[in-house]
């Protein structure tokens, strides 16, 4: 019997043929194909009971109502709340990512104590008693030394119960240094006060306007309730127009009815030019001008001194003069002015969405004046004054000797002093002040609540240098942001989806509501509500400080604050102010009792009328033309968060490859500019300004004026997590502040720059 190779071959053949007559190959194919689809690394929500819980998003000042969808106790989706007045079911990419922030790796999971070098990110988790104790001890020490005024707090907001508690603590403790970070609120609040004598916020009733004249507001580029803005801009037609004035073709400009590319920084002049035409042609609201305004005509004061009125001021701003300043054709200015004044419900807006910049007070006053000229103040479709809620009655408090002495010291940023009497917050002055002080820093302890100054304040290098001199820094941040990373003690706040908090006065909205941020899950980590932390610190002191804080916990305080309105607030998730916009007879609380075109309360050291009136003054930006032949303009995008919070991983996925690629930011320049500097699309370059330099790449864009370089805000984070850190450059590190001499506010809209190829 011979067995040879052929046998084995046929054995194999037999096996093969036989196998095809079994289920094996077919079953295996089916199984392997199923196996290839088993992607165990793809997160899939657990199956379980679904629930929907309402809350209000606190990731930006927009205050949109949200509904969180949960499976069992895990948040799996955030949606805009359909029946919420501010956003009516819409939501922006940031709000949509709320759950990513909740469960993401940037969360601080317990109180932390710094153990490495400042900024090294080396922290040790400690218990709450130890952490709160460390802060109380340090603050008590400063008080004993008679330096309570050396304690400062930086916060993005000064409205609502949490900022109130912090401010109340500083008052009882003895410091006036509650510092709000900049935004357009700074100039609008000031303008509101100067022209109408009121404290409050400005809202724009855009939904009911039919002609929106926007001086650079990035409606589609990020601010306020973005979803609401999107809905608005999506419904423009012949009867609902948006005219966008800005030097760059932003998304807003692209969707607007008309885009007018005025030279950057000249918006105030344009507003005055439009006013000129309206006044010349007598197209203003006669009733408003004759009965409710002051300082429109020339006037004489009590001492008999004659003063110039707004009417005389604008005579100078002829369309041809304004054309020379702005670069817009004079006919265009005429046409725009006439269209604006003739519209049924025109509104002029400024500030919103230019990022964390206060802006130019003269420009803001001029824009407010346009609204006054057409008589839309507190009218449907116009500029609305949103007053502070009137029912929040907080208990009176006694302060002791130390506190009284501390409060009498002027603010570290000199806001409200003789130098800058009408201004409330001037954070950008602080780095300079600290860096120029020989010896001990005027701020000995800094509390950072809901803010990220080490990222957002211009001239990052100077800010960092100043922070180095502050001996004690406490952060209440929920996330390991740049400022938290630099702190000595972190007392992490709950994530907004884990806490109660009132959300008053949604940014830019004409809605008079207060929203309620409500917890949708139990806190995931060992965090504590910032209100509770402040109460604990306050109650650790004896005497007047702890007496001023009798509440058991934050929730008790919150409920007491809202008293009989709490039920509505918690059931609906918001409370609507029943007061309607004040009619003109009652609206103005200025010295004259009318809308002041000539703001008599304005800090006017020179005494010249032209300084009180909102004339156009060119704001010089830093840098000499020779070394820095270009002008750098930061720009906002709906895909990049530019404030304290950093982009979520979801949002990073929406950033185009010609904005950020392989960790490098792109800057936009006009092809003509590119040619001058021998730059091509995609080239690697160094962007240099008087404050710093950054590695960038070139993106050629026809939608930007020659001579300008546009750089996106929101990149260049160095903390948070791997999805955002070390990607791109922080435009704030390249910027400088440019102070308006009368208010001290930062008007800086840009800085001179140079680009060189590498």
């Amino acid at each position: 019997m011979k067995i040879d190779r052929r046998c084995f071959l046929t054995l194999g053949a037999g096996l093969a043929v036989g196998t095809t007559l079994t289920p094996v190959p077919w079953k295996l194919m089916d199984d392997v194909s199923i196996w290839t689809q088993n992607w165990s690394w793809t997160p899939v929500p657990e199956k379980g009971a679904e629930s929907f819980k309402n809350s209000v998003c606190a990731l930006c000042p927009g205050g949109c109502g949200i509904t969180a969808k949960l499976v069992k106790d895990r948040v799996i989706k955030i949606e805009g709340r359909e029946d919420y007045p501010v956003n009516k079911g819409s939501i922006c990419p940031l709000g949509l990512s709320g759950a990513q922030y909740l469960y993401g790796p940037s969360r601080i999971k317990s109180p932390m104590k710094r153990v490495g070098e400042r900024g090294s990110g080396r922290f040790e988790p400690i218990g709450w008693d130890e952490a709160l104790g460390a802060v109380s001890t340090k603050l008590a020490e400063l008080r004993t030394k008679g330096k309570p005024h050396s304690v400062a707090c930086i916060s993005d907001s000064d409205r609502g119960t949490v900022p109130y508690l912090v401010d109340r603590f500083l008052l009882a403790y003895g410091s006036a240094n509650f510092i709000r970070t900049p935004s357009f609120l700074d100039t609008h609040e000031l303008a509101l006060y100067l022209t109408q004598g009121r404290q409050g916020a400005i809202g724009f009733d855009l939904e009911n306007a039919n002609f929106i004249l926007s001086f650079g507001c990035g409606l589609l580029d990020g601010p306020g309730a973005s979803g609401r803005n999107f809905q608005l801009v999506s419904h423009l037609d012949r009867h609902h127009q948006l005219v966008q004035v800005e030097p760059r073709l932003s998304d807003t400009a692209a969707k607007a009815t008309k885009w007018l590319a005025a030279r950057p920084g000249t918006e105030g002049a344009l507003a005055l030019g439009i006013a000129h035409v309206i006044v010349r042609n007598r197209m203003y609201n006669i009733d408003f001008m004759e009965n409710f305004s002051f300082g429109f005509e020339d006037w004489t004061d009590e001492a008999g001194t004659p003063h110039m009125g707004f009417k005389t001021l604008v005579q100078d701003y002829t369309p041809s003069k304004v054309a020379g300043i702005t670069g817009l054709p004079p006919e265009e200015i005429e046409r725009l002015a006439r269209a604006f004044a003739r519209a049924k419900r025109p509104v002029a807006i400024s500030g919103l969405g230019r990022g964390p910049v206060a802006g130019n007070i003269d420009e803001t006053l001029a824009v407010h004046a346009l609204n006054a000229l057409v008589g839309n103040i507190n009218q449907p479709g116009g500029m609305m004054v949103i007053p502070e809620p009137d029912f929040m009655n907080w208990s009176e408090m006694q302060i002791d000797q130390t506190a009284s002495m501390g409060r009498q010291q002027s603010r570290i940023d000199e806001a409200g002093t003789e130098k800058f009497p009408n201004t409330r917050y001037l954070i950008h002055r602080i780095p300079e002040i600290i860096n120029n002080t020989k010896g001990e820093s005027p701020i000995q302890a800094l509390l950072i609540t809901d803010a990220n100054p080490l990222y957002t304040v211009e001239n990052t290098a100077a800010t960092l240098k100043a922070f180095q001199k502050i001996p004690f820094i406490v952060s209440f941040s929920t996330f390991m942001d740049e400022s938290a990373r630099y702190a000595d003690i972190i007392l992490p706040n709950h994530h907004f989806l884990e806490r109660y908090q009132d959300v008053p006065m949604p940014e830019g909205s004409a809605q008079r509501i207060i929203g309620l941020c409500q917890p949708v899950i139990e806190p995931l980590y060992d965090t504590r509500h910032i209100g509770d932390s402040i109460l604990a610190i306050a109650q650790s002191f004896d005497g007047s400080i702890s007496t001023a804080f009798p509440w058991k916990d934050y929730e008790t305080f919150l409920k007491e604050t809202f008293s009989e309105n709490w039920e509505t607030l918690s059931e609906n998730g918001y409370w609507a102010d029943p007061r309607t916009p004040a009619p003109w007879q009652e609206a103005f609380q200025s010295p004259s009792g009318k809308y002041e075109f000539y703001p008599t309360a304005r800090n006017n050291r020179s005494g010249a009328d032209t300084d009180a009136l909102p004339g156009y003054r060119q704001v010089p930006i830093s840098g000499d033309e020779k070394t820095f032949p270009l002008v750098m303009l930061p720009y906002n995008s709906i895909r990049l968060v530019s404030g304290a919070i950093a982009n979520s991983p979801f949002m990073m996925k929406t950033v185009d490859a010609d904005v950020l690629r392989d960790g490098i930011s792109f800057v936009q320049i006009n092809p003509a500019t590119a040619k001058t500097f021998n730059l091509k699309e995609g080239d690697f370059a160094v962007l240099q300004t008087p404050r710093g330099e950054a590695n960038v790449r070139i993106n050629l864009y026809d939608g930007i004026m020659p001579g300008l370089v546009a750089m996106p805000r929101g990149l260049g984070h160095t903390a948070y997590n791997e999805f955002i850190a070390d990607k791109g450059a922080n435009v704030n590190a390249l910027l400088d502040t440019v102070l308006d001499p009368s208010s001290g506010l930062n008007t800086g809209w840009g800085i001179r720059a140079s680009l060189r190829k590498v």
């Binding site: 019997m1 037999g14 094996v24 079953k27 199984d31």
Partner: protein, 214 residues
């Protein structure tokens, strides 16, 4: 007459008996062996090898519990208010009675000690588990079509113990999905074709893709 001098071993007159190769029968025999071995192992050994046997964490007695409830299967396998199906009950359904050991069975003792006392969910193995791409609505079938549980899940309610979970080693799914028979004779599986067959019979069409694959 010519002689082949270069192939001395070849005897053209005799045939193959002097050839050095295996006989045709031997070759065929090997083929046959291969054939039979593969057929038999394909039909009998393969199914056994393909599936691993797993036991449920607790040997639950359905019959015993069915006697004690008033609404049959739905007492524990119920529809929620929003119409979604709760599936296999969570610990919360059991603890009302089982905060302490009720009977004498050691399985229950394990259950209370390991799961109830530690508030730990029992990691039940789900026989009918479908992949994530499948959207199956119990409401449509039970409420809408009036089907009973046994039609798809078999008569579990009267069983006194939970059957072994046979897990496909390659895919991780239960043998119940393919169907117990390796050739899918008998149609007791829960694969797409099984759903389609029933749909065709009951509704006149196999259904559209998006009905189940959203």
């Amino acid at each position: 007459m010519t002689t082949h001098t270069d192939t001395p071993n070849h005897d053209s007159a005799n045939g193959s008996s002097a050839r050095k190769g295996a006989s045709g029968w031997m070759v065929f025999a090997f083929f046959a062996v291969g054939f039979i071995v593969s057929v038999l192992s394909g039909w009998f050994a393969f199914p056994d090898l393909l599936y691993s046997e797993k036991q449920q964490p607790i040997d639950f007695n359905h019959a015993l519990h069915l006697d004690m409830v008033s609404e049959g299967c739905e007492s524990c396998h119920y529809f929620r208010e929003d119409g979604s199906y709760a599936g296999v009950p969570e610990l919360s359904s059991c603890v009302d009675c089982h905060t302490s050991v009720q009977g004498a069975d050691p399985a229950e003792e394990t259950f209370v000690a390991e799961y109830v006392d530690n508030n730990k969910e029992v990691p039940w193995l789900i026989y009918s588990k479908q992949p994530n791409c499948v959207f199956f609505s119990h409401a449509a079938h039970v409420k809408g079509a009036g089907m009973d549980c046994e039609t798809c899940h078999g008569d579990i309610g009267t069983s006194e113990s939970l059957k072994t979970y046979q897990e496909n080693r390659i895919t991780g799914y239960s043998r119940d999905i393919w169907g117990h028979n390796i050739a899918r004779i008998g149609n007791d599986g829960m694969k797409m074709n099984d759903c389609a067959a029933c749909h065709l019979e009951k509704t006149g069409t196999k259904g559209a893709c998006f009905q189940c694959h959203k």
